[in-house]
């Protein structure tokens, strides 16, 4: 079979009965009973259990309830359905150069380069193996997000979309319908005109002429269509012949992922919460992974019974899209809470993200060490508070006590950025020029006033901690002054003073009051 080199190959991923699937997915228990989606008093979607009891799409709500008394109904929410579709599109973003959510229930992936994947599928792989691998990965990604999906691969977006929504999926095809390049027209010939996505007016006029399916439309002479239907007719015939090279409109997510889950019953124990957190973590992680991002900070919101909520921020040491890695710190933080009521719903959001660097497994290249780090940081954070554990970052300030600031401890991020910047050690380079001078390893903050003892205008001893200590040597001064724009500028002459029985101390004379202060130890 001839392979067209330049044709647009598209994978269409369909989430059948999306409103129904979304309603079921929102509940932690999976909602076993009959379920239907209602819009304007009529059933628009119903599941198998409801259908078995006689509920049909199009029936009024009262008819449906008369047929099935235990029917649970949820209102149709097109905005939420579109958001759910975008979430799935996020999860498959990394699989293809372009991904486009196509309402109401299809996500399109550009598979034109998927043939390159065939090389990795074994020596005897067929040229189409790459497309199949990609489609199967897309189905798996949707499953990870909690949706059952099926896929079709064909030439052009309209044909792929038509096949995935109206094609003949069977036990033989499974969840994947693959049409070889160039064979699309034959594959869609039996599909009804509605499958091509034509406008209702064009569809009605074609039907009026006795044209019922795509195959019949494809056989019409192009000139006749142009004469009778104008550009719409020509476009319709091209679609029917599988000649669709309209590119995908790439989807770029603008917001960070949030997922929520209602609990089966208000939870008072850890297990249902852990269960819900795991599900949510899988979904948020899949969406982040699709974007090549990892979370560095999560937010868990626990909705309480009867009202109110508790919010927990979970910082992570490494940017990661591994849901398993999030669980331990999230568990530490959430389970340390004392909640005033039972939890009815859980929401998980990635509120701070960073690109997942290749150097992520940097800590001695031991994944278990990364997990151990996450665990111990979470324990310390819960017990001591996030402000008590930090990494220090140099700041270009001359005032010694302001020459560094506390930043979250994320060694992998820092390592990756250091490697990128080619700047060498991230610590030493950013110091203020004064740091070229020796600095004490311990800083006494606030500085302690000390008294000088001397004779003939020479300091011979300093009284430190109530005891006079002879001055053995002295270096200095190093003048540090600045911040004239603040109410309390500083002007200090620093000396390194070696004191008998104590060692080297960092002492300064403050120009503001002329007194001596002990500011540090060269310990």
């Amino acid at each position: 079979m001839r392979r067209e080199a330049s044709g647009l190959r598209v994978i269409a991923l369909c989430l059948p009965e999306l409103p129904l699937q979304r309603a079921r997915r929102q509940r932690a228990d999976g909602c076993d009973g009959p379920l239907a989606v209602v819009s304007e008093g009529r059933i628009v979607h119903c599941d198998g259990a409801a259908a078995a009891d006689g509920v049909r799409p199009g029936a009024t709500l009262s008819e449906a309830l008369a047929a099935c008394g235990r029917l649970r109904t949820v209102p149709l929410d097109p905005a939420a359905d579109r958001a759910a579709l975008r979430a799935v599109a996020e999860a498959v973003l990394l699989l293809a150069p372009a991904v486009e959510p196509c309402a109401p229930d299809v996500v399109l992936l550009d598979a034109s380069a998927a043939g390159l994947l065939a090389g990795g599928a074994g020596r005897n792989a067929s040229p189409d193996a790459g497309e199949r691998v990609l489609a199967e990965r897309a189905i798996a990604a949707a499953a990870e997000m909690g949706y059952a999906a099926r896929a079709a691969v064909a030439d052009g977006r309209a044909a792929a979309r038509a096949l995935v929504r109206h094609g003949a999926f069977s036990a033989r095809t499974g969840e994947l319908l693959h049409v070889a390049p160039g064979a699309t027209a034959g594959a869609i010939a039996a599909l009804p005109l509605e499958a091509l996505g034509l406008t209702p007016a064009v569809t009605a006029r074609l039907r009026g002429l006795g044209i019922a399916d795509a195959g019949a439309l494809a056989r019409l002479p192009a000139g006749t269509l142009a004469h009778r239907f104008g550009p719409d007719g020509v476009a319709a015939a091209r679609l029917a012949r599988g000649e669709d090279d309209t590119p995908l409109s790439p989807y770029l997510p603008e917001t960070l992922p949030v997922e929520a889950l209602e609990l089966e019953a208000p939870a008072e124990s850890a297990e249902p919460l852990l269960f819900a957190l795991k599900r949510l973590a899988d979904r948020v992680a899949a969406r982040l992974a699709g974007r090549g991002l990892g979370a560095t900070r999560l937010k868990v919101v626990l909705k309480l019974d009867p009202r109110g909520e508790e919010r927990v921020i979970v910082p992570l040491a490494q940017p990661t899209a591994s849901a398993a890695r999030w669980l331990v710190p999230a568990k530490e933080h959430v389970f340390s809470l004392r909640l005033p009521g039972a939890v009815t719903a859980v929401e998980l959001a990635a509120i701070e993200v960073a690109p997942i660097a290749v150097e992520q497994l940097a800590i001695d290249d031991r994944p278990e060490a990364l997990a151990a780090l996450e665990t111990v940081l979470a324990r310390l954070g819960v017990r001591l508070g996030e402000g008590a554990i930090f990494a220090a970052e140099p700041v270009e300030r001359y005032r010694p006590e302001a020459a560094y600031r506390a930043v979250p401890f994320r060694p992998a991020v820092a390592r990756a950025s250091a490697l990128r910047s080619l700047g060498g050690s991230p610590g030493a380079g950013a110091l203020a020029p004064s740091a070229a001078e020796p600095r004490p390893t311990r800083l006494v903050d606030p500085p302690t006033p000390i008294q000088a003892e001397g004779e003939g205008g020479r300091v011979t001893a300093l009284r430190v901690e109530g005891r006079a200590r002879a001055v053995l040597a002295m270096e200095g001064p190093e003048r540090l002054r600045g911040e004239w724009w603040v109410p309390a500028p500083f002007d200090r002459d620093y000396y390194r003073v070696r004191l008998d029985g104590l060692g080297d101390c960092w002492v300064y004379r403050d120009a503001a009051d002329g007194r001596l202060y002990l500011h540090g130890y060269f310990d």
Binding site: A324, A362, A371, F390, A392, P426, A435, L443, G503
Partner: protein, 245 residues
């Protein structure tokens, strides 16, 4: 399979996954040299032993912090270090000047009082708990503990004893920075170095417990706590005192 059974299976799988995640990393062995020959030469294996606590004792400006930072600077590029700064005095710019990669140094400064949960605890005890957690985690190659804690603080003695077991469990080099004499807590350690600054140089000497036999009880306690019997024996932090409690 019913929904209940499926759910039970999922919960079991989750439990397994969490157990797997929380599994301790492989324990490291050997010794780490700090790169200061005069100090490394004093140590039995030419460096600070992994999985053991070493005491650096000295005055306010004796050089014990500089030795701890020198060890941090000598760590491998993938290794992490932690400094439990109970006094709040560590000056990170000096650490950077000594070659420590600040991005890989975790500073832990316990708040003055933690009263969010239950009765407020002594900050020194909280700092000791943090040190124990860090040492036992297996995530850090070296942990320095600078916590001023008096012997009289209730529970401090037990907390301090657990540090050695934690270091052994996590395979980290533990450094206990101690003041000389006074009422400071004595901590069972593997090796004790006493440091002094003489003419701007750091001079160290190893102090062995003169009455090691008196500490046999302490040694067996530690071995039991760690679950293994080590090849070294802990020695008293303050040999002159000889008080095992």
């Amino acid at each position: 399979m019913s929904a209940g059974a499926e759910r039970h299976q999922l919960v079991e799988r989750l439990r397994d996954e969490i157990r797997r995640i929380e599994r301790r990393p492989a324990r490291r062995a050997g010794a780490l040299a700090c790169g200061r020959p005069e100090i490394d030469a004093l140590l039995p294996e030419g460096g600070f032993r992994r999985g053991a606590l070493t005491e650096l004792a000295g005055g306010r400006a004796s050089g014990k912090t500089a030795i701890a930072l020198a060890l941090f600077a000598a760590l491998g590029p993938g290794d992490l270090a932690a400094y439990v700064d109970g006094r709040g005095e560590l000056y990170p710019p000096a650490a950077a000047a000594l070659g420590v990669d600040l991005a890989r140094l975790l500073v832990v400064r316990p708040p003055p009082r933690t009263s969010a949960e239950g009765p407020a605890r002594d900050p020194a005890l909280v700092a000791l708990w943090a040190a124990e957690a860090l040492l036992a985690s297996g995530a850090f190659a070296a942990v320095a503990v600078d916590v001023p804690v008096a012997r009289a603080v209730r529970g401090a003695d037990a907390a301090a004893r657990r540090l050695q077991a934690a270091a052994e469990k996590g395979g980290a080099v533990g450094l206990w920075l101690a003041a000389v004499g006074g009422t400071a807590l004595r901590v069972p350690v593997a090796v004790r170095l006493e440091l002094t600054a003489e003419d701007g140089r750091i001079v160290g000497r190893q102090r062995h417990a003169a009455d090691e036999a008196a500490w046999a009880g302490g040694a067996s306690l530690l071995s039991r706590a760690a679950g293994v019997r080590g090849s070294w024996r802990p020695r008293v932090a303050d040999p002159e005192d000889g008080d095992a409690a």
